[in-house]
Amino acid sequence: MNEQHGEYKTPGGKLVVVDLTIAEGRLATAQVSGDFFLYPDETLLSITGALIGMETAIALEEHTVASQITAALPPDAVLLGFTPESVARAVRRALVAEPESEVRK
């Protein structure tokens, strides 16, 4: 399975990195990482949970992805240095990037 990697530096904020694998036209796995701040910690699982299983055609629509992430956030979530839109942009970049499982060390 090929791994897709995308990065987006939130203007004036932090870096968001997305690593995806795709199977049967959907996001099979998703890892969101970066130097952002997120409270409470478990919120990261809500964000990746919103991505996994999403159809790739939908995952390319930044607006839709951002809304789905926002909807999945717990009410007490605080995101500092990035937004659901930053994650959506990194997802899109990962999807349009060349697969890079071979080149990453």
Partner: protein, 284 residues
């Protein structure tokens, strides 16, 4: 908390801060003065023990078993300390780290990677009940937790100010960075300050990609960090002593020692969490 990655926020000068934040800071000062702060001075510990102690001491303070505490970190070896949401392979060249004898550990707070070398860095942690920053947003509390350091630097003639979200800056560049972890009712705020810096080694270890620099318009990441040494001839130990004196004068501070229970609890956290591959590679 990253030393490598200065943020791109426009630099905000102190006189642009609102009176609202001044009033908030005054309220915080009052609460902090009556909090009974204790000091844990620098003690040389392994990097993994340092990050484990942060969680152990946060729990102690959170449970009311220890008063609010200021701890200065001592480093037994050089290390890359990753933020809790960072991917190992995206941030650090593990082969270079092995060759250079640099440990890689993951801390409990978010933010960016930092490269620490014994004698070249000043790192401290504040463990506080959430009450001490009640009514202050998480974002605003970053500046509140570091205001005594900014003042301490200014007294030493270092032109320092806070650059939100989490940087201590000078007109020449970033001096240090902070990160916070929160648990119900408790806050860990820790900050790393560059005293001296080996840019070549840092650039060999940390992957600083083009995307990270995309809104900076500068080529060299190392240039954006301005270690204290560039602004003062004072030895590192004297700067630490001054910061401690300033904290004591402002809020009160009593010397303290790590208890056997606290050390044992940190050692357990090393064995079960911070020293494990599972934790280090929780985001591979």
């Amino acid at each position: 908390m990253t030393i490598s990655d200065s943020q791109a926020e426009p630099i905000r000068l102190p006189d642009e801060q609102t009176t609202d934040s001044t009033a908030k800071n005054a309220a915080i000062t009052d609460r902090w003065r009556n909090a009974g702060w204790e000091l844990l001075p620098e003690a040389s510990l392994s990097p993994v023990m340092n990050v484990a102690l942060d969680e152990a001491l946060l729990q102690q303070v959170g449970k009311g078993l220890r008063p609010p505490t200021l701890r200065f970190w001592g480093w037994a070896s050089q290390a890359v300390i990753l933020g809790s949401f960072q991917s190992v392979r995206n941030e650090v060249d593990e082969l270079a780290a092995r060759e250079m004898g640099v440990d890689i550990v993951r801390r409990m707070s978010g933010g960016g990677a930092m490269f620490v070398q014994p004698g070249a860095t000043i790192t401290y942690s504040l463990y506080a009940p959430e009450d001490l920053v009640r009514g202050v947003s998480i974002a605003d509390s970053y500046a509140a937790f570091d205001s005594w350091v900014v003042e301490g630097f200014q007294e030493l003639g270092v032109q320092a100010y806070y650059a939100p979200l989490n940087d201590i800056a000078s007109p020449e560049g970033k001096i240090g960075g902070a990160a916070q972890a929160r648990r119900p009712g408790m806050v860990l705020h820790h900050t790393t300050i560059a005293y001296e810096m080996s840019s070549d080694e840092m650039l060999r270890l940390l992957r600083i990609g083009r995307e990270k620099l995309s809104d900076k318009g500068i080529v060299s990441a190392a240039k954006r960090v301005s270690p204290l040494r560039r602004q003062t001839d004072l030895p590192r130990t004297e700067i630490v002593a001054h910061l401690i004196a300033h904290f004591r004068q402002r809020f009160g501070l009593t010397e303290s020692v790590l208890t056997a229970e606290e050390l044992a609890s940190a050692e357990t956290l090393v064995a079960n969490k911070y020293g494990t591959e599972k934790w280090l590679r929780s985001l591979p």
